[in-house]
Subunit: 325 residues, 2 copies
Amino acid sequence: MRFLPLLLALLASCASTSGLSLFGGEDPLASWADGEVKSTITSFVSEATDPESVHFVPAEERIAVFDNDGTLICEKPMYSQLAFMVDRAREYVAEDPTLREKEPYSSLMDGTFGSTKDIEAFIELAMETHTGMLDEEFVAVAEGWLASARHPDLQRPYTELVYAPMLELVAYLQDAGFQVWICTGGGVDFVRCYAKDVYGIGPENVIGSSGQKAFREIDGRGEFVRLRELVVPINDGPGKPVNINRHIGRTPILAVGNSDGDLEMLEYVAQRHARTLTLLLHHDDAEREFAYDDGIERALRAAGDGEIEVISMTRDFETIFQPAP
Amino acid sequence: MRFLPLLLALLASCASTSGLSLFGGEDPLASWADGEVKSTITSFVSEATDPESVHFVPAEERIAVFDNDGTLICEKPMYSQLAFMVDRAREYVAEDPTLREKEPYSSLMDGTFGSTKDIEAFIELAMETHTGMLDEEFVAVAEGWLASARHPDLQRPYTELVYAPMLELVAYLQDAGFQVWICTGGGVDFVRCYAKDVYGIGPENVIGSSGQKAFREIDGRGEFVRLRELVVPINDGPGKPVNINRHIGRTPILAVGNSDGDLEMLEYVAQRHARTLTLLLHHDDAEREFAYDDGIERALRAAGDGEIEVISMTRDFETIFQPAP
């Protein structure tokens, strides 16, 4: 029996490479590299679901929130909804060339638009492309775009460019009785178009930014008319805890983000329960995806001080994207 | 065997009186009187959950929305949140008698306040009693009031004055795989204080009116500060479909209300699917509860024309309230 340790080590190594866990069948987190982050996740979930554990959490309080762009899905060089808006705006200009003289179209066509930090210009573009139509018209346009658009570098539909480890994490949490919510700075209706099919997260569990709508009778039927006015607050930064409170009414025990816009959400979750899991995805893999620290500086500093755990894409993601279907 | 029909009739009559269904064990809707409304409900739910039925509805689309005050819980002579506001305002005046000279306090103390139709005065009173404090402070005050306040006529806690048939209907739908949501004109935080304990409906399934909140760091902790500003739209009338769209993102197949403020919600549900169940509770039982047509005129007329089914409290409720515990 003196070969047993070697045999076990060999088995473990094969299992890890093949996506099988040693004695437990398929590893539900096979796309995560073994290491501290993966074991922090599995310990947290095991304890939360173990009635014998002092860290047991009743099912109804097992709530997890995920940011969307950059956390579940690739956001570079342009996140999908921005690419959608740019494509729409170009179509409008093609239909009506006089728009070229008008903002936000002129800077868009000149190539001077594009910094998502210019929040005014960004909101103007969102209003132009998301309002002044019925809800059902918008959904049809967005679904059509999502079906046909391709990521400029990777030449795949945007909704395929979701992170395999995150998809596994969502399913792993749902299997463990968690309610998994998306809490996105993006537009709620746009993300709802694909959240169920792509992530297995229904529309009622998607919180996002939104324009106001009016419910009006048009030709004998009640319709949602999309108005040129924002629902306050925008779902970013301190707006995320506010909207989590509004939509969920209790504090999640687990939160995942990837930018400074997620920091208040992560801190809010970390502060409200004795035991929480707060994760910050750091895009540090220029070879397999993108590497950028822009817009995550505050969150990285906070992670250094406190409870937020950094996921390094290079170190912790065994696989980045799902294989093409 | 010629006595069989008589025997069956006798059995059926005993079963109905005792809350047992003829051959199926306990009747989950025992507080509903047998008749057209009850059988409409049970047929609708049976078909929606029967994979063989042409009217089968996948579980994720089985969504039901209930108004709260007057639909699930007694709202006369004053619904609980209004009684809460009046009690709070009186306490404020007791602490600071100079308030007596100021609206809304002066008309309240004079007894000239009280028509909930004066929406401006009502919002003013809501702002005075619901804002300018932290969220957790508000919840503590509301929970304290709910535990101690008594209905002026019936001398029971407000949260006991819920309709037994409606509690059964909520549980019956949940057992049939429905997501059951509350869609109340009342304040979301107030209703969330008791929705889980009283109805078995978690905070994430309560949609209501609300004030804006800011998430601010206070003494090193992120806090929700309750602001003197409304979240738009108020969750009443056409605001109900708008907020259902915002929170749920798909159209319910079942809706229950009791007033004109629920009419747009009922019509919205009825219009969007081939087969829906839309119910309007008519308070027509002065002997056992209250009888009033004020504020339900439009909805009753609409029910006469179309798909909305009227529940008559006199005819359809075998029992009104749960017995005192």
